[in-house]
């Protein structure tokens, strides 16, 4: 049983736990854990957007708008500040907008993620960024206990290992979870304490043998998993999402298992550079195509669903080439554009149905 996000965080905050609100997407969570700060990620808080509209244009992505709406409410569950990792232009500016213009009562931190192709210069710099971030946290929370950081890295490593195993089991039909249940499990890491999340992962039932399935198999790509309503609809249609290329999910899990950490700084640096290719890091398109093809082969999917957040520039630029290449390879592709409302329009429902029919035809052939 996965606890509900808001109730869980409320209880934690009431118990005196320090909680930092973290915006998408990549950040060294282990450093925060080492300072006893819990991270509650802010991706798509529910509710109507009211106050954020006074601060942001209509053409800004719903993740940014919803995040700001959440911050403006000054929720009690966030008590240690906000962290804005450098992900895209809009989140970059939102960080400084909140810190320097709007003003919030809690401290605002930022974390730069290097962009482009990586080499030793980037690796050296990333280590410097980690140390600078550590120093900025030390200013508020006192000196870092390096043993605690290593323990946090060990915990993180265990979580990653379980996630890699679970993702593999999902691909090989050894994970008896519906689409909705699977992504609920994946997204629980956004707010559960790491020890609670690890304990949840340890309880996941992995079958010894692949289950016999007759449904269609799908890979999803984008920023966030499709909304629960879409996932349920796919469940109803007998389509399994067996692999993903989502920023909120597998793009934050190392491509392959890492050795257990012995040096925290080395571990954190290595981990960042072996994450799967991602549009927001500005990586090479060929590398992304190769990664997607590999995922598709390994998971034996019949098609790919792009669930694109409206106005998301990093994804939209890559999207055209990915779709073009996949179509040239006769792989069915469907693109949905989401504003993160949990409802499917009639038109999208019809498109999903037509798309899945195509996938089922391929299963038969």
């Amino acid at each position: 049983m996965i606890p509900a996000r808001s109730e869980y965080l409320k209880e934690l905050a009431q118990s005196g736990q320090k909680i930092m609100g973290v915006l998408p997407a990549l950040y060294p969570r282990e450093l925060l854990w080492a300072f006893d700060i819990h991270t509650a990620e802010i991706w798509d808080p529910p509710g109507e957007i009211l106050h954020a509209n006074a601060h942001l244009q209509t053409t800004i992505c719903p993740i940014v708008k919803r995040s700001l709406e959440f911050i403006l409410k000054e929720p009690d569950v966030i008590n240690a500040g906000y962290l804005f990792p450098h992900t895209c232009d809009s989140l970059q500016n939102l960080g400084t907008q909140v810190k320097d213009l709007i003003g919030v009562s809690l401290p605002v931190y930022t974390f730069y993620n290097p962009k482009g192709s990586f080499n030793t210069t980037t690796t050296t710099y990333y280590r410097d960024i980690l140390q600078n971030f550590q120093s900025s946290l030390e200013t508020s929370y006192g000196p870092l206990d390096s043993e605690k950081l290593l323990t946090a890295c060990v915990l993180s490593h265990k979580i990653d290992s379980h996630l890699i195993t679970i993702q593999h089991a999902r691909m090989t039909d050894q994970l008896p979870l519906s689409n909705s249940e699977f992504f609920k499990l994946m997204r629980a890491q956004e707010y559960l304490l790491p020890k609670d999340y690890l304990s949840l992962l340890e309880q996941v039932d992995i079958l010894d043998q692949p289950a016999k399935t007759t449904g269609a198999r799908l890979l999803v790509s984008g920023i966030l998993p499709p909304t629960p309503e879409i996932l349920e609809f796919l469940d109803e249609l007998g389509v399994s999402v067996v692999a993903d290329d989502l920023l909120a999910v597998s793009r934050r899990i190392p491509k392959f298992p890492m050795d257990p950490p012995t040096s925290a700084l080395d571990y954190l640096t290595d981990r960042f550079f072996i994450l799967p290719p991602c549009s927001t890091r500005g990586g090479d398109l060929d590398e992304r195509l190769y990664h997607l093809s590999k995922l598709m082969n390994e998971s034996q999917v019949q098609g790919l669903l792009f669930d694109i957040v409206k106005f998301c520039e990093p994804e939209l630029f890559d999207h055209r080439l990915l779709v073009k290449t996949l179509r040239e390879r006769n792989i069915p592709v469907l693109t949905l554009e989401t504003e993160l409302h949990n409802h499917i329009s009639g038109q999208d429902k019809t498109r999903i149905e037509a798309f899945t029919e195509l996938l089922f035809d391929m299963v038969v052939t």
Binding site: Q57, T59, Q92, I102, G116, R320, L321
Partner: protein, 440 residues
């Protein structure tokens, strides 16, 4: 390099380009009448057109003679100059297409091939050009190299990645960490090292050797050019201002695309001289300057003439802009004796790579020093780093300085976004407020 191409290039440089200039001059014998609201036009316009036409004209003959690089406006181009790359600025080219009101056509080509309409219009126009080969400049050479920096936006990285893949050519990216409070030593070292890491790649692509002394000369030239550009903008503090910001949007082209070349340096000396003369003689860009305004964000290229006339007729002159200032603001950090570190400081701290507190303070300073009465902010769909935060900047500036302000929702180069009625209403309301505040 091909000898035949080299001879052709030389002929075109020495004879073709001057002939083209002469033809253009002949065509311009009957200048367009200037509306009464404006002062006499700048004589330097003629030279500006010559320089830019020549640059685009010669680019047709450059393949086989020099390696061609497509470069972003904020990239440290001085390094490429040291390898004699012929540089083309897609942003400039897209602005040119936008100014000709052809942006929607080119955007349509990119959209037809699968690029989203929600992407930056500079990018869509450029991708439309790349996919179709169409250009109002006649013909542009295909690049051998792409060079971009995310110090103006992350978008350029995504955009150039798409071109690099399509054309199968190398892309060099200069990663400029965003300045959230101030640049750290680590940021500076990282950028300085990246620049040095680029040298072997540039040597390989250009098949030329890097000479530090050549590079230092280029850097010196670039620095002096930026300083002169800054002095020209400073001259607009005079009342009446000798030119409008709409003039400056045009005169910006050499500092963006020919920075590091003596031709740009010489050009700005000519412009500086003319501007100084106008200041001495009290010649204003508009015939009766009563109100002085600041512009925020990139120009609305397809409406420059409309906006210039609209405001001039109401005796309002734009005397400063955050946009034009961007190529002068951080030049002070350049140091020929310490090229790598100083370039990291110069290119890493430009306005779009700096936090909004910095932008707020900069705008306050500009408003005060240029004796500004009102502010027009262009909220553009294409540029998130320029636009996200503008609503709160406006609030802070109007509250602190009691400054009338208006935000125009439009786009830099896609004219389909322009809503005539809505903009007109907003502009009229703004002018009324501005006049009302003066009367009060």
């Amino acid at each position: 390099m091909s000898i035949r191409a080299e001879i052709k290039y030389k002929i075109m440089k020495d004879y073709g380009a001057p002939a083209l200039m002469a033809l253009q001059e002949f065509k311009r014998r009957k200048p367009r009448p200037i509306p009464e609201a404006f002062g006499p036009p700048l004589e330097s316009n003629k030279r500006l057109k010559e320089i830019l036409s020549r640059h685009y004209f010669l680019s047709r003959y450059v393949p086989g003679v020099k390696k061609v690089a497509w470069v972003t406006s904020g990239a440290p181009v001085e390094l490429l100059r040291a390898f004699d790359f012929y540089t083309i600025y897609p942003e400039n080219h897209s602005a040119l297409i936008g100014a000709k009101k052809q942006g929607a056509d080119y955007c349509g080509i990119a959209e037809g091939s699968g690029f989203s309409q929600d992407l930056c219009s500079y990018a869509r126009i450029d991708l439309g050009h790349m996919l179709s080969g169409k250009t109002p400049a006649g013909k542009l050479p295909k690049p051998d190299l792409l060079f971009c920096s995310n110090n103006i936006c992350q978008t350029v990285l995504y955009w150039y990645k798409a071109i690099a893949h399509e054309l199968d050519i190398p892309l060099i990216h200069f990663d400029a960490p965003f300045v959230t409070t101030e640049q750290t030593e680590a940021d500076i070292t990282y950028m300085a090292q990246q620049l040095q890491d680029m040298i072997p790649i540039l040597e390989r692509v250009s098949q030329r050797v890097f000479y530090l002394d050549v590079f230092e000369d280029i850097l010196k030239c670039s620095m002096e050019t930026s300083q002169t550009w800054g002095a020209i903008l400073d001259a607009m503090k005079a009342q009446p201002a000798p030119m409008t910001i709409f003039d400056a949007f045009g005169h910006l082209a050499p500092i963006v695309s020919l920075r590091g070349f003596p031709v740009a340096q010489d050009y700005y000396h000519i412009l500086m001289e003319e501007v100084e003369t106008r200041v001495t003689q009290g010649i204003g860009a508009i015939s009766d300057e009563r109100y002085r305004l600041i512009w925020d964000n990139i120009a609305i290229w397809y409406k420059v003439r409309f906006l210039a006339t609209f405001f001039a007729e109401r005796k309002m002159n734009f005397v400063t802009a955050t946009y034009t200032n961007a190529w002068a603001e951080t030049t002070g950090y350049l140091d020929v004796k310490d090229p790598w570190t100083s370039m990291a400081k110069t290119y890493g701290q430009i306005i779009l790579n700096n936090n909004l507190k910095h932008r707020l303070e900069l705008m306050k300073k500009m408003i005060k020093t240029y004796a500004v009465d009102g502010m027009v902010m262009h909220s553009t769909r294409s540029c998130k780093p320029y636009s996200v935060g503008q609503f709160d900047l406006r609030k802070a500036l109007t509250a602190d300085l009691d400054l009338p302000a208006v935000i125009l929702d439009a786009d830099i180069a896609d004219e389909r976004v322009w809503s005539e009625q809505q903009i007109h209403t907003r502009l009229e309301a703004f002018c009324e407020t501005l006049e009302g505040s003066r009367n009060a």
